[in-house]
Symmetry: D2
Subunit: 341 residues, 4 copies
């Protein structure tokens, strides 16, 4: 259920509605929009009725939502959500490029790459400290030390950090360092982790599971938002299909579909989406042309020595060309990209 407030409704009116909702054992979610405020109601199973709600002061309309996703839905929140990540707005006119290594491997490595991507126009630094790996015998990341190296790189370059949290055990630690918490594809339906992240008040980058439908991704975002954390960014990173000449099948259809169904920003990860470094740039261009709000790109100064995902990492030199191309496409869709130095 969704309660739409009148344009001029004041805080008192909002509080009263929230109290009524709580009195029935449900949870109110105040969602401010550009023009008016809506209050989402969750916690119910099926249809809800709160008598006389429509006659309460300040209430304009009560909408019964049948869709399984509510808070995530554009019906509920027609304007685009802009998520602010330590001063970098995601979801607005400017397309944000996040770049960095797959995994943090050493202090020198991350500092070097951070400087390079900053110089070329990236607005955020990516890098994994806790790495989920298919084999128990593969490199699992530098863990806490990796986070410290990232923080050091942030201090020098000013770039906010996006890094993955792979379990609730390390959530507190990772959240201390990260500006944008990444939930990886394999954890998209780790509902406990989603709920814990939902209790924080920190932006979340939620990656689509490799066999998750768009509706399931939206419901995973709903898990986070139902706990009160509305700063969620959806990430298309390729799905698993029968095609075997690419690592994944980047589903760019998902970009306009998600932008239509949801108000949340959409980021695309063409590095994982195709898995072949020489084809990351055309897919980055295509992502922006399809309507992506941001890109997340793997960059490594020595891809052949990378401890993971070397085959899909761009060198700084190739990344410069990507940035040039992406700027041109952004302009063609009336958007901008940071210019670098």
């Amino acid at each position: 259920m969704l309660v739409v407030m009148k344009k001029d409704s004041n805080q008192q009116a909002i509080d009263r509605v929230c109290d009524l909702i709580r009195a029935r054992g449900f949870a109110p979610h105040v969602m401010p929009g550009a023009v008016r405020i809506a209050i989402g109601v969750t916690g119910n199973q099926g249809f809800v009725e709160i008598e006389n709600l429509e006659s309460v002061d300040g209430v304009m309309e009560v909408i019964h939502v049948t869709s399984p996703h509510k808070l995530v839905s554009r019906d509920v929140h027609p304007e685009d959500t802009i998520v602010d990540v330590r001063g970098v707005p995601i979801g607005g006119k400017e397309i944000v490029v996040m770049a960095g290594p797959c995994a943090v491997e050493s202090r020198e490595q991350v500092m070097h790459i951070a400087r390079e991507v900053k110089r070329l126009g990236a607005r955020m630094l990516r890098g994994g400290a806790f790495k989920p790996r298919t084999s128990p015998y593969a490199f699992q990341g530098l863990k806490k030390q990796g986070l410290e190296f990232l923080a050091e790189a942030r201090e020098e370059t000013g770039l906010p950090i996006v890094t993955e949290v792979k379990d609730t055990d390390n959530l507190e630690l990772v959240a201390e360092y990260a500006d944008l918490l990444q939930i990886g594809a394999r954890n998209m339906q780790n509902f406990t982790l989603l709920e814990e992240v939902g209790k924080l008040r920190k932006p979340v980058l939620l990656k689509r599971g490799m066999s998750a439908t768009i509706k399931e991704l939206l419901l995973a975002a709903e898990y986070i938002m139902s706990q009160g954390n509305y700063q969620v960014i959806l990430c298309e990173r390729g799905i698993r299909t029968f095609e075997d000449s690419t690592r994944n099948t980047l589903d760019l259809n998902a970009v306009p579909v998600m932008k239509a169904l949801s108000h949340l920003p959409v980021v695309v990860d063409p590095s994982h989406g195709i898995g072949l470094w020489s084809k990351v740039t055309p897919m980055a261009r295509a992502s922006v042309a399809a309507g992506a709000d941001a890109l997340i790109i793997e960059v490594h100064h020595e891809p052949q020595k990378a401890l993971s995902d070397g085959a899909q990492s761009l060198t700084p030199k190739s990344f410069a060309l990507l940035m040039r191309d992406v700027r041109r496409i952004a302009a063609a869709v009336d958007r901008t990209v940071a210019s670098g130095e």
Copy 2:
């Protein structure tokens, strides 16, 4: 096997090499390039050896190709192939937009739509006269009469025609009218049809099967080329995956992958690729940004009355916006699109 001729080799030398190849029971394919001529050898099973071929006059190099696709391969023919469809070059700097109804439904319908798409910048007219349909009880097309209506529209507008041939029985008839013969997704591995089309000297638009890998699409093109018809255009039109909020999953990864593996032009069909008219334009933009040489778009002036695929057809008004957007993206990748009237 591939025989690369010296730059200055004359026709006599070429003929001699071809004769030697034929003498061993194989088929020579003379493939002129910008700089030099290569002669592909097919008909062998596995490794071939023709003694002393390297010492024949005019021969620069003999390359043993291990890849199952030969004629289709960029190794064999490094320059982009440009297919000329009745004066419209596909595969060059200009991006060609083909547009029209899914099915030809009446003389008035096709004439009206042809005029509209021509006015808005389309360079070719699409329209189905023989329609393969999943149910035997669905509309199967106007058949010969449909072809005649298309020809009439061509006469008035000057737009070359692309239309589907769905079996060998009607191939002669369809080939009489079509400027570009379309092989549909369901026929991508109808090898008899591929071979028959390969015996013609007419451009072919080969659509990817809905569960075909990129390699299988290239091998299907190889079937056509192995018969001597080198004017093949590859078409990405979406693959079948578990995602059910779109009709298909448009695999734009396939664009840079196919452009790297093959010298053939690549066209994208975003109408079938997403199946939702309101999202065709962003996917058309993404296709061009990914490197497509052409687009094929379903347009209908009354989509709600269309006998097939109404849900994915653009009105002329929406098509105008698509053309505007596609022109801007084309410019951003240093290409052009016809300006319309």
Copy 3:
């Protein structure tokens, strides 16, 4: 639409109803059942009304069918259909095993294998004379000569022949030799071929396309039946998924689903379904346990020398073990398998 006739309705009554249907431009299909006769009506687009049909002599009930598949549907024909292939009934209590080489390679090869599989209990001989191959450079079959070798093997062993027809051009020729015409997976939606096969009065084995849904397979069968050929056998042979340790994913779910939706017999091809000879026998057992009416198995006396599909072919020795196992499972589901010599 479906017209159900009274139990005691005579030929005259049936003819009268058919005439009325034809008079409206539709096609009647007389379908005899164990208890009563039903007449299917096809050729309509959407809802049909033939006035006063219910008051015609002999008519018990007129049922408006909304499902896209009609003739194929168990609603229309509740009893199991038994297809008679030159004296071998498929769809009854006895489970029929068809066996033989993937491709006919020589007279000796096919004679040898035919004798072996006959001896071990196979009731039909399989073997391809026209082979659809992904690459134009792979072995394409012995064609007419292959058919002649098959006929010779039939003459000696008495085993009816199942062999593939891959295009309409060779349909007449193949139909002359084959007792059961196989439509391969790649041709499941070659609608022209389906219609031509539908005009014959010869049993058809219709293989599921590698990315076809069960509903699409049933609609493909409907194409054949809508032309008047009701002797169709459905074949599950594996679908294409992301799993890459097997050639295909054998979808045994399809067996009970198809048996519930349709009255047609179901055969399973575990050889293609898993693609690994050492695992064909457990999958053959599972097929029978799931409710399959027949099996089609690739057998080759020298798999390592086979021109195609050697990796999935059983030797006669392994086939003997398969037959023993299948007999035991058949007994456990109250069915039988021929005992061999």
Copy 4:
């Protein structure tokens, strides 16, 4: 790396080898077999060399394993592993049927169903107390209270309990009650949970992720085993494909493939695998015919009132027929099933 010990090697020799392995920073895994003991070495990245190991007393052979899965592999442990779950052996001659409701809904419900399935021959009781659900607004289980009801049912019936653990936070609690810890499909690559479960000494039922390859499932089992918990049971429960007439596509190919690659027992879940209660029995038959060691079946006495998965739950009456059928198939593959009362 794998160290195979001589037949007569004593504990001292084994300890010495383990010490040498630990001295190099690797982890030894002592794996007793029927004839001899092998010691797996993990913790290395790539090739390992421990000098002179082959000359140590008691060592028969040192095998360098290149496969990414080691402990899970049949190469390393040729005999079938039998996992003992509170006295019920899984992986031996007897096929074990686990049955019960999808979710524990009340004391009465679970007691009633437990008595019924016990009476009909089930050897273990299944039931979810912590339910991972796609929507945050769906029923999430009775949690601790659900575990208590399960324990009470075990006390009365003697049936060991299998129940899901969905996060590390509740692992200790769930492990206190469960006899067999289930890792659900969505958690198959929740590596933190796998490692924590690996530190316990309790049997684990590991479900295949809905888009996981067989190799990935084996690597997930390897995660558990690499921590020292060797009591892992692999579970095929259907994969996600394009087919939409069933909930999942049950991949029975996986049964013989996994039995060949690994020594671990394999259980099949036909309830989730097809998702249609009326077709669970044929798929249960097929599972046993394909070689499954156990089945896990959803049973509910009032499926239409079930809070989750009602559509795929059998009534006790249908379950009785399933048991009868499964017993017959088991006998046909020389195995047994408990007879019930």
